[in-house]
Symmetry: C2
Subunit: 571 residues, 2 copies
């Protein structure tokens, strides 16, 4: 029988007596409250004023797990131009440089001062910088023109003009991407979708939402919530990211375990090709077997073959009952056992199964001055969420599951949230890790798909590597503070973070390409959910064969023969 230790006073403890689980708590939510309470909605909005200093990038190429809620509490560091950080990148001389005539054309086309940020005919450096620099403060382009169309027709005319005149284009949604895909590298024109932000329709019966690409994810979810539905995607940046960008990057996030990927949920799509062609595939049908499913190429296409201007998406019924449990475990073997049991016993109500190692939770506590929900130290922690239609049934299932995993000593200790605030506190232990990892100077981040049985070995091997090469230690003499592992257990998606006191080329060299080789040997993916962007373009060969890359290039050339769309990135 596992010993019961102290628990966070605000949370009722899981207690085991005679192998019977008692006092498992549950929250009861009204459907409307559930909308807000199912997870804390982070209001991440890029503060462009912060992006105007100049220095080394603060983060590695691979991006963060999820965009944290706010900038870490440390001195703002300057962002170098990407062209200076990556001197091997050269501007493609086939692209024309912007002239006053071009700007005049766009101003007439868009017909509104607020639709154009013009750094060609006047000084607009500060205004432009918010669109040039990325959220991670690592990439910074030199764009001198931002266009904000308000209709698909305007997007079409913009692209046609750019294509005819060999002007490079950088499509941009909420600019919350983590691989440098959403900001220009040189002087590409930024086409920002923010003004295309209308919900076009919502069908109460089918749950099908049709909306412009520029609708903020949180707003889309709120809209669905008003009708008792849920947007089938959820991620930390939901307060800023746009649904068009989500689709263009095939965002994964926290609901994928339950609701599946965007390739299944997106029913229709409207996009504009470089030559101005409007791809009118905005179906609101669940089934439509009439020809190749071309829209799929735009899902995860990262704006390299066209700009997504609207989507039609299936929103599932919103669950009135949401429960969250958090527990400590002795080993990764036990994490896997717990996951298998959760899948079996919680089955249709399981909506998240997240894993965090002990180091990740200690780091979170240290960075935030927070107290963890469980006292005592555990090598591993898991957070599970259930969502269902019946509070009593869900609680009973959850209790039976917890009883089993504690009785079998799979889980050492645990708590269950009893109200919305506790639910949010438990989620914060998982979602706060990404921000915490950047808190002490810098972090190299990797977002990887790895077969489940081998998933955690990578963290252990990375740790051994830094222990043996003398780069990791407790004092300031060592660049690496710690190596942490966490992620979406339900999707075999590991976030490996090398937490640093400072950026150091030796650290980077010790990890790359070793980490990609390690993943490739196990037939994993070097980018589970963040995409390729600029950061991972060089490494696609570790996850895709030459044949596949060749076939992808063929598609790129088919749709964008001039190569104007999001150049220097992707494949």
């Amino acid at each position: 029988m596992p010993a019961i230790h102290r628990a966070l006073p605000a949370l009722r403890r899981i207690r085991i007596a005679n192998a019977t689980f008692q006092q498992a708590s549950r929250i009861r939510l009204q459907p409307s409250a559930a909308a807000a309470a199912s997870r804390p909605a982070y209001q991440l909005r890029y503060q462009h004023a912060e992006a105007q200093t100049e220095a080394e990038p603060t983060t590695s190429a691979s991006g963060a797990d999820h965009a944290p809620q706010e900038q870490p509490d440390r001195p703002q560091q300057k962002i170098k131009f990407t062209a200076d950080s990556y001197p091997s990148l050269k501007r493609d001389s086939r692209f024309k440089e912007l002239t006053e005539d071009d700007v005049k054309y766009f101003k007439e086309l868009l017909g509104s001062e607020s639709a154009v940020i013009d750094g060609v005919t006047k000084d607009a450096f500060e205004e432009l910088d918010a669109f040039n620099a990325d959220w991670m403060r690592k990439y910074r382009g030199q764009c001198r023109l931002v266009l904000k169309p308000e209709s698909t027709e305007q997007v079409s005319k913009i692209l046609k003009y750019c294509n005819d005149n060999m002007l490079a284009v950088n499509p941009q949604g909420g600019n919350t991407g983590l691989v440098g895909g959403s900001v220009p590298v040189f002087d590409e024109i930024v086409v920002n979708l923010a003004r295309m932000n209308n919900v076009r329709s919502f069908d109460e019966v089918s749950g099908i939402l049709v909306a412009d690409a520029g609708v903020i994810l949180q707003q889309a979810d709120d809209h669905a919530a008003q009708h008792g539905h849920i947007f089938p995607l959820d991620l930390g940046a939901k307060g800023s990211c746009q649904i068009g960008g989500n689709v263009a990057t095939n965002a994964g996030g926290l609901r994928l375990l339950r609701y599946g990927s965007l390739h299944g949920n997106v029913l229709g799509l409207e996009a504009v090709l470089p030559d101005g062609t409007i791809v009118d595939d905005l179906s609101t049908l669940r089934k439509n077997n009439t020809g190749y499913d071309l829209k799929q190429l735009f899902i995860g296409g990262e704006g390299t073959i066209g700009i997504v201007t609207a989507i039609s998406i299936l929103c599932p019924q919103r669950s009135p009952a949401v429960n969250v449990a958090y527990f400590g475990l002795e080993s990764y073997e036990k994490v896997q056992q717990a996951f298998r049991e959760a899948k079996k016993q919680l089955s249709e109500i399981l909506s998240a199964f997240e894993m965090m190692d002990g180091q990740a939770q200690k780091l979170y506590a240290k960075a935030n001055g927070a107290r963890l929900p469980l006292e005592g130290e555990h090598p591993f922690y898991c957070l599970i969420e259930t969502s269902g239609s019946n509070t009593d049934h869900d609680s009973e299932k959850l209790n039976t599951f917890l009883e089993h995993v504690m009785g079998e000593e799979i889980v050492s200790d645990g708590v269950v949230a009893q109200d919305e605030s506790q639910l949010q506190s438990l989620w914060a232990c998982r979602e706060g890790i990404s921000e915490s990892s950047q808190h002490f100077g810098g972090v190299y981040k990797y977002d990887l798909s790895i077969p489940l049985p081998q998933l955690y070995s990578l963290v252990e091997e990375a740790r051994s590597r830094f222990e043996s090469n003398g780069l990791m230690g407790d004092s300031d003499d060592f660049p690496v503070m710690d190596v942490i592992g966490y992620g979406h257990m339900g999707d075999s998606n590991l976030h490996l973070n090398v937490v640093c006191r400072r950026y150091d080329k030796e650290v980077e060299k010790a990890v790359e390409p070793w980490v990609y080789e390690w993943v490739a040997e196990r037939k994993g993916s070097i980018s589970a959910e963040h995409g390729l962007g600029l950061a991972k373009k060089p490494f696609i060969g570790y996850s895709r064969s030459e044949t596949m890359v060749k076939l992808m290039r063929q598609v790129k050339e088919l749709y964008d023969p001039n190569g104007i769309m999001n150049p220097y990135k992707y494949i």
Copy 2:
């Protein structure tokens, strides 16, 4: 309070007393039994001996809902060559005719007598006819060579040779398609996948199955069942159809409501392009954001850009508890109300919501000499299935739902299956319709996606049309016996059947293209789940814009510039 009428003696009735639902029955299934009992598995196997007679096609171009269990009990009719039924189709003269040297090459390549059916150097008419004629007995090609490769490498060499020599190819799985896509039109070489039938791997934890394209759907599901999982697709032809063909046609079926489409469930795919290139995209990862998701083009590509040779697919946890209820309703408005309530109250456990009109059920009873589960007549019937992890919880949810819909008089009468045999009887009322519709001489079948509120109006308008044009009546003077409507309510997928005593061009003219125009006006789809094949190729313009068709042709030309893959079909 709705009156309670007689019920099928073998089934316990739903009774309402004081607005309280009593005696709702439930079935309890062990996980292993659930595998077999979740639905009757129809063992449909094409009997080629039956296909050798010659006559008019017995069915219309649009195919059946699901392939029925066996041929109707009526005289076998002859099947005309497609080339004779459709004299406007001409053999493409660019394609070379087969020579003895070609056959010699293939025999050496495949190295086995059983791998080649050679009608070029000898008489093999009877053997070939099973591969030339389709299940619907409507289409019949004139192929003289069938190749049965046993490896992806052999498929690659076959296609490369065909492409180099301008030999047309007809990929073929289980040949259970309903739109003439799986049989040749002229002398295309049939490449049949039946010998590639190995399960390559199954991961217990993730539920990911990797298997050759030629694995029979039923076998794939049985394999998943052994490990407590379920194949995420189910359809009447599961005893014959192959998973490669299912993916190539993007089959929909009965589990789509719950588990979503193949675009979301297929994680990886191996295919061979016409030039012999092996598309090695057989990922077993739930998340992999590294480049364009090219495999999606093969899902629903109907063998026109390559041959699917293997798939990797996510199989959900199998539900130990399965319940089926069947009820009568007064109007289509009430069917919609019942569906909304089922979505809300049964939510995560709802696995099917099927609608049948009164005429469809009467036809089923008449054709099968069967007694319907509910006595008395109802204008509409619904079948709902729940699948979940906890029998008690599911029954409670179902009872609460039934109590509500009966108390509110949404539903007039109903029964719940209490054991496996009852469950199968109830499913038979839905699944037996397709076969019944062909029982009385002929049937024109349409498989349509229509927005839910308007879905049933089409049936009513079609009925009015035949009533007013004098083609429908009770005596043998009228070619049309009845018009019936049924289908997957949960997917807005209507099967409209014009039940005939005989085929009559006047009937066809009264329906086509009117039905396609009607659907197009409501932004529906002229093929929800059956695909295009030969039958619907001329009508794609009703569901897709010229731009979309143009973009599709571009993809076809990219992958199959010589046009050798499944010619005369699709787009």
